[in-house]
């Protein structure tokens, strides 16, 4: 019996997946409903520029927004990786898929940090 080598990073990736799943489940439906549906369809009047800008640029909002973006991206990476594994059965593309998913999450996190804290 050959035991597969355990990757010590796996628990961390699972933790990020789990935290991202919780953050996105808690916050995204309301935000997506508001900014993706209700406002563009005219069901709700958009908040004033001053108010929205004030809320978004508050240091606490920036921090929370960055956390949600980072965790949600790692949630995507983990789940999408296994969708490709199980759904399409492309286990032989293992390394390519890992690079695409986790690499994408890392690059996305850097972009998020730049947009939220630097720009």
């Amino acid at each position: 019996m050959v035991m597969p080598r355990k990757r010590p990073i796996e628990p961390l990736l699972w933790l990020l997946f789990s935290a991202g799943g919780m953050a996105s489940a808690m916050l995204m439906p309301a935000l997506l409903f508001l900014f993706g549906l209700a406002i563009p369809l005219g069901w709700i009047t958009p908040p004033s520029y001053e108010h929205l800008r004030g809320v978004l640029t508050h240091p606490l909002t920036r921090l929370v927004l960055f956390g949600v973006c980072m965790l949600s991206l790692f949630h995507w990476a983990h789940r999408f990786k296994y969708t490709l594994y199980d759904g399409l059965q492309v286990q032989h593309l293992n390394e390519l898929i890992n690079a695409f998913c986790y690499g994408g999450a890392i690059i996305g996190t850097l972009v998020a940090g730049y947009v939220i804290f630097v720009l």
């Binding site: 916050l27 439906p29 309301a30 563009p40 958009p46 520029y49 809320v55 995507w76 969708t83």
Partner: protein, 137 residues
């Protein structure tokens, strides 16, 4: 072992080829794949939030650019689809929370229904708080 794929005198594995579309046959499998695909729309919304953040913080004119962008038919269509997937993700996520969280009060295990219910309740409170924070004049 240096070459784990080679085994002397080992019979050939019986591994029937499984169709790429194995999950299309039964509803629970379709549901599983749809739930996994919800992550793509979670990632889409991260992108959308970042675009929104950038445009709103840049000035009043670009805030209106964002409002125009959100009303673009293609963006709106993706967001409608994304909303259903994100709702599906949230509902299924809280539904399985009792399987991931084993909590005890004293020696008694907290019943699954209570853990799920507290997640749904927290979700309602958080959503209401978000809408209040963003919409109060």
């Amino acid at each position: 072992m240096t070459n784990p794929t080679y085994r002397e005198h080992h019979p050939r594995w019986l591994r029937p080829r499984i169709s790429t579309y194995w999950w299309l046959g039964r509803w629970p499998y379709v549901k599983f794949i749809l739930r996994e695909l919800s992550s793509v729309f979670v990632a889409w919304f991260v992108l959308y939030l970042l675009v929104m953040f950038q445009l709103v913080t840049r000035g009043e004119k670009s805030y209106h650019d964002f409002l125009d962008l959100s009303a673009n038919p293609i963006v709106l269509t993706i967001n409608v689809i994304a909303f259903f997937f994100v709702m599906f993700h949230a509902l299924t996520w809280f539904a399985v929370a009792p399987q991931a969280i084993v909590a005890h009060i004293g020696k008694k295990r907290v019943p699954a229904i209570l853990i799920a219910a507290s997640h749904y309740a927290a979700w309602v409170v958080v959503s209401a708080a978000l809408l209040w924070l963003l919409l109060r004049a």
